[in-house]
Amino acid sequence: MKGKLFLQGNIACAEGAIAAGMRFFAGYPITPSTEVAEWLAKRLPKLNCIYQQMEDEIASISAIIGARWAGTKSMTATSGPGFSLMMENLGYAAMTETPIVVVNVQRSGPSTGQPTLTASGDILQAMHGSHGDYEVILLSPNSVQEMFDLTVEAFNLSERYRVPVLLMSDEVVGHMRENVYLPEKVESYDAPLSEKGIDYFKADPETLVPEMQVFGKGYNVHVTGLTHDERGYPNTNEQDVHSKLVRRLCKKIIDNAEEIVNYELSYGEDADAIVIVYGAVSRSAMETVLKLRKKGRKVGLLRLITLNPLPEKLIRKLTRHAIPIVIEMNLGQIKKEIERISKRKIYFYGKIGGELPSPEEIEEFMMRVMKW
């Protein structure tokens, strides 16, 4: 599919995956992400690619990791409860440096919560949900166009850094329909393959990322979730091997943050107050900011596109003079991060219950805290 189209967010995401070169999708039905699977079930067989419905979400993420080691770009899509089930193997993908994309079209939790309503309560889980220390990349789309663009971006980042990338969408963006433009061709990046006989998990000293390898070429690759040396062989007793490996897994994201990070800053220069938002909420917040600007209020807006890593330097710079206001559809998850980075008091508006905060609500909140 290409050109100007009127699409649903979840479908745009599915098309983004196809455009990025995904050839294997495994999934399990769950509201509100099901349309991703339904669309791909229709599209992939026509492209000689595989759509496989698995028995649960644990199997889904397992299958896509397996598929990536067979040499095929792969993805799964889910929502809260399914995302929780995937946590163990998300850690496995991080430990084995398998490039995969997991889409989470968020709904209200905890537990079964509000299956059909929107939220963004899985952000901290996405960052820290699996046991042990690790870093993954989180992206947050706010439009149907971005469901396409950021899915492509998610694949490219996962291949570049050999890391799972999580597309943290939500019910509003997933189910919304908008005009989009799908280009004929997208820029897609494939992890380079290493040569035979070398240490397959030995990282480049600059990027800290090892080259990829795939099965079926006679290289006798060994992939394990155990602490492993640079050859990929288990070594669970030596402190140094573990420390070196896990520190590198974290550092390859943290040290490359400047290249990974993506955001959108509006009216940042002279702002007295900076609204920090992401995902669907940013649409309401932008309207409020435009309205307040018209009224002469010096307010800026920072829309986070990458939620992990965060643009820490920029946040510090902005919040030095401007009062940080964070609006989320949870009880303060990114707020905690902004607090840590800016070391300032955050004015926080968190709305839960399944409804997007309206521009009026946000305006009222801002007028109150800013005493305008």
């Binding site: 495994a26 595989i50 644990i58 397992s62 299958a63 397996g66 040569e195 099965f215 006798n220 062989y233």
Partner: protein
């Protein structure tokens, strides 16, 4: 110097292994490697997948591509691996705890969808890696660290479950009959669909010694005395004899249902593609068709550049390209 014939299949640099003295896994690996050497398989295309547990450590010692995954999930990982590249031959090595307990759901569905995977389940009736707790196959009244007064739950018959779920081939043997294990693996390997070889495997260290079977020999003797071939069981069963003290071994299921790759059309698609390219090449004048060469090149069809050259009938160029890639 006498060298073990299977040593070429092992990652020698990883030896010695971590398994205990008198472990049944050695017998099974021996049978497996013998089967592989008899089969003359393309080693590059053979992949091992495992979960967590004693048996799941095996792929780490085998000189093949190997994916050592999380507890219970080997079959789910293997499903993705096989479907994404049907050219790979996938063997899953798992255990009773890994496959029948935590991975029970994946086991049922792998068998149901008849995914083209050969599964070897090392059933030692216990969680050996964690020191000998009760597993879903611990027989009633047998002791383990978590059933100190004897197991009270009825055990699972793994092979029967596989049969009911739809596996194409199911065989069960004990480590007391290594030759039969090898033959079962050999036969299973050549079939499509989901194939299970369940091996009752002795574990004197974590299991036997708590049940008056202190050594490997004690356990092997027990297996000999308490297993009965399916042929014999059927005969005695007709006479109405009580066989509840025995485990039935032998080839339990041998069906020829289409495997999942065939159901997806992946098998036919490849054949179709081969025909298409041959047809196109015939259309071009002045090109002699060297069937062998074409078939050799077709094996490498996964490379888009080779495919493009082939479709244009540029066989020589395609071959040179492959040579260059191989040298690299």
């Amino acid at each position: 110097m006498v060298v073990h014939p299977s040593i070429t299949f092992l990652r020698e640099e990883r030896l010695p292994h971590i398994l205990c003295e008198g472990c049944g896994i050695g017998t099974i690996v021996n049978a497996l490697l013998e089967a592989i050497s008899e089969l003359e398989v393309d080693r590059e295309k053979l992949v091992f997948v495992s979960g967590i547990g004693c048996s799941s450590r095996v792929p780490g010692y085998l000189k093949f591509d190997s994916l050592h995954t999380t507890h219970g999930r080997a079959l789910a990982f293997a499903t993705g691996l096989k479907l994404a590249n049907p050219e790979l031959e996938v063997i899953v090595i798992t255990g009773d705890g890994d496959m029948a307990s935590i991975g029970g759901n994946h086991f049922l569905h792998a068998a149901r969808r008849n995914i083209d995977i050969l599964t070897i389940c090392v059933n030692n009736h216990t969680y050996g890696m964690t020191g000998g707790q009760a597993s879903p196959t611990t027989p009633r009244k047998w002791k383990s660290t978590t059933t100190p007064y004897g197991a009270i739950e009825p055990p699972m018959d793994i092979s029967k479950v596989a049969e009911a779920a739809g596996a194409n081939y199911v065989a069960r043997w004990s480590t007391a009959s290594p030759l039969q294990i090898k033959e079962a693996i050999n036969k299973a390997f050549q079939k499509e669909g989901f194939r299970l070889v369940e091996v009752l495997s002795h574990c004197p260290t974590a299991f036997g010694r708590r049940n008056k079977l202190r050594t490997a020999i004690d356990m092997l003797k027990w297996y000999k005395d308490h297993t009965i071939s399916i042929e014999k069981a059927e005969k005695l069963g007709e006479k109405g004899e009580d066989l509840s003290a025995f485990v039935v071994v032998g080839e339990l299921v041998d069906r020829n249902e289409p495997g999942l790759c065939r159901l997806y059309g992946l098998t036919e698609k490849k054949e179709e593609e081969e025909k298409k390219i041959e047809k196109r090449m015939k259309k071009r004048d002045g090109i002699k068709i060297d069937k062998e060469k074409i078939l050799r090149l077709l094996e490498k069809l996964s490379s888009p550049r080779v495919r493009a050259l082939m479709e244009e009938g540029e066989i020589e160029k395609a071959e040179n390209l492959l040579k260059g890639e191989d040298e690299k």
